[in-house]
């Protein structure tokens, strides 16, 4: 008996699975590797171990040791060889084990990777993806909980994105790998395995462009802009404010470099109030950049100074004190109140 033809609904169901952010990243990597034999994965403990957060789980088993390379401890070497591979036609995806270990590679990233295209006026390109688990909230310490994304967003020639949900995780991974520019994907490590954030991912859908921000909750009293690990607290704040009759608009910035602030400007022109949330320290950061550009573009719409809720301007504190350091519901709501009552 011939199998009945699949209805469109069935097909969609077959292409849609519910998963965590970690699994979505894993699936994104897998799909990219299936689609293009030039896609490679490399890093410390990414092979047999599947990465310390298991994001590359099973890839070496399925694609072989020649496509999923376990490297020695040598971050500069990892990124440097990825550049060499990329200029010769491969699409390497490097994993940096924790954000705090990226700095031995800073030179290769900043001095080589970011500048190659401009320096050669496009004769050389380096489509390298660097995956960086970042942010706190996992009970770890210095080097294991930090938020250095502003440092990289500051470098012309690099593109930087951060996901906050499984759908974006899947598509950002695929889009970053397809990009002809070097892309750093900052992955919110505390959300990797969050079952609360599990969501259906339709791998046949048409994703939003990689470098676009998105309104994820509509409101008109004030705007909250956040990204990556700070999205849940921004949304919680909106829910809490709703209970008090204040409707907040929440924007997931998604792309950190280039920033896509159009939707933020549009929102602030309506609400007149903006709160920017990030775990990173505030000085000379992405949150300062957003504040500066919003005051420039929306000066006459602003009813209050742009508020920022960030990590303190200190090194990351010990695990036991991290709850004080990280933006939490109270601090976000306090900033919202400040903005509303200005």
């Amino acid at each position: 008996m011939a199998a009945p033809a699949a209805s469109p609904v069935d097909t969609q169901a077959a292409n849609t699975q519910t998963m965590t952010i970690g699994k979505a990243l894993n699936n994104g990597l897998r799909a990219a590797m299936e689609a293009d034999p030039k896609v490679l994965v490399m890093g410390e403990d990414v092979g047999k171990l599947g990465g310390v957060f298991r994001v590359t789980d099973g890839l070496q088993k399925d694609f072989g040791e020649h496509r999923v390379l376990d490297t020695p401890l040598a971050e500069s070497g990892i990124v440097g060889t990825a550049i060499g591979l990329a200029v010769r036609g491969f699409r390497p995806v490097c994993e940096i084990q924790f954000e705090g270990f990226i700095f031995p590679a800073f030179d290769q990233i900043s001095s080589q990777l970011a500048k190659l295209r401009y320096r050669t006026q496009g004769k050389l390109k380096a489509p390298v993806v660097i995956r960086v688990p970042f942010g706190g909230g996992i009970g770890a310490v210095e080097h294991h909980s930090e938020s250095p994304e502003s440092l990289f967003s500051h470098i012309p020639g690099l593109k930087v994105v951060s996901c906050s949900n499984p759908v974006d995780a899947y598509w950002m991974m695929r889009q970053a790998i397809s990009s002809d520019d070097p892309v750093m994907v900052f992955e919110p490590k505390k959300l990797y395995h969050s079952s609360a954030l599990k969501a259906p991912v339709d791998t046949t859908a048409t994703p939003d462009p990689l470098h676009s921000s998105r309104v994820v909750r509509h409101g008109d009293a004030a705007t909250i802009a956040a990204y990556g690990p700070s999205l849940p607290v921004a949304l919680d704040a909106a829910t809490a404010a709703q209970e008090e009759g204040r409707s907040l608009e929440v924007i997931d910035l998604r792309t950190l470099s280039p920033l896509d602030l159009g939707p933020v400007f549009e929102s602030v022109r309506r609400t007149g109030r903006l709160v920017v949330v990030s775990e990173a320290s505030s000085e000379v950061s992405l949150t300062s950049e957003v504040a500066a550009r919003v005051q420039q573009e929306c000066f006459y719409s602003l009813e209050a100074p742009v508020q920022r809720v960030t990590g303190f301007d200190t090194p990351y504190p010990p695990a036991k004190l991290e709850e004080h350091f990280l933006p939490d519901l109270d601090r976000v709501l306090y900033a919202v109140d400040n903005a509303l009552e200005w």
Binding site: D45, L73, A74, P104, F312
Partner: protein
């Protein structure tokens, strides 16, 4: 000096190794029970390296340490209660609970700091060695690191600087065969890591890192050379970590048999056998001496836990302290007022 025939030395070595083991076991237990936070890396199985190496040092000598640094700290003479307090994020910890397991520094005993960045301490050790030289001192710096560190750029830069400037540094590699899941067989194209020393023009030896005597001999040799202006050396100590890399390691990359075979080469049990007269030499210690060392180690660790637990928690109100030097404008051309 032989550790196995001189009673005082034997007791010191044995008590130190037991203290490290008991400390690590206590930390393991407190993490498992959720009483300790952060990250920790245990050195159970590797106790002979810091013990033998630090016995070759004198007061005033320095060490730099690693993420797996509790043993180095203890062997260099740290106070257990301040260490335990640091791990428990207490105000009385070595770094007021801010540094945690991976960042204990104990200036009083010359411990310039553990390091969460692999190979981070290696060039710092070279710098401390350069400082000794510039001040006309005779101290020596021992830099501890794992096999994984030997492939980091910072390692190569640090070792080369020490070599070209003849600095009084001893590079001590605890080769426990793995950097997380990466085995030395896959990460190196040389038979022994000590071969790397030759490339920098410094002496390098490979020794049994599960025997404190052998470690002591090799490091003492290197320390003598360093102190007398002979420059740096590299000592590779072969050992094994019994536990996983950190708290969430399922040991997927090594076999149960391999772990078992190394557990059978327990550095402490072997040393106890040696000091109680397994060989031809007159026994340095009696069974009751050995018991005494064990009890001393156990009691010290228990006492440290008690004291640390009673101490005040690291205070969130001072979270922003010590990011910068205390107020006081630097005076141009000189030190601050």
């Amino acid at each position: 000096m032989t550790l196995t025939t001189e009673a005082d030395r034997a007791k010191h070595a044995l008590t130190t190794m037991w203290t490290i083991r008991r400390f690590e076991e206590a930390v393991d237990d407190m993490f498992a029970r959720g009483l300790m936070h952060g990250t920790m890396h245990l050195s159970i199985g590797q106790e002979a390296v810091p013990t033998g190496a630090c016995m070759a040092l004198s007061e005033g000598d320095y060490i730099t340490s690693t993420h797996r640094g509790h043993g180095h700290c203890i062997a260099k003479g740290a106070k257990l209660d301040a260490m335990m307090a640091e791990l428990l994020a207490k105000e009385t910890g070595y770094c007021r609970g801010r540094g945690g397991s991976m960042h204990i520094a104990d200036v009083a005993t010359g411990n310039l700091g553990a390091n969460g960045i692999v190979a981070g301490g290696v060039p710092i050790a070279a710098g401390a060695g350069l400082a000794v030289r510039m001040r006309g001192g005779s101290e020596v710096v021992v830099s501890f690191f794992g096999d994984g560190a030997v492939n980091e750029g910072a390692w190569h830069e640090g070792v080369n600087l020490a070599a070209i400037w003849d600095l009084p540094v001893v590079f001590v590699c605890e080769n426990n065969r793995y950097g997380m899941s990466m085995s030395v067989d896959r990460a190196f194209n040389v038979d022994t890591l000590a071969e790397r020393a030759r490339g920098y023009g410094i002496p390098g030896v490979t020794v049994d890192g599960n025997d404190p005597q052998t470690v002591y001999d090799a490091v003492a040799d290197a320390v003598r050379r360093a102190r007398s202006g002979g420059g740096p050396s590299f000592v590779e100590a072969l050992t094994y970590r019994w536990k996983g890399h950190s708290k969430s390691d399922k040991n997927l990359y090594r076999t149960r048999e391999e772990i078992e075979s190394w557990r059978e080469r327990d550095p402490i049990a072997a040393f106890e056998a040696a000091v109680t007269g397994g060989g031809a030499t007159a026994p340095a210690l009696s069974e009751s001496d050995v018991e005494e060392c064990r009890a001393l180690a156990r009691d010290r660790v228990r006492e440290a836990i008690r004291t640390a637990n009673a101490a005040p928690d690291a205070d969130a109100a001072t979270l922003t302290d010590a990011v910068y030097a205390p107020a006081g404008e630097p005076i141009a051309g000189g030190t601050r007022a």
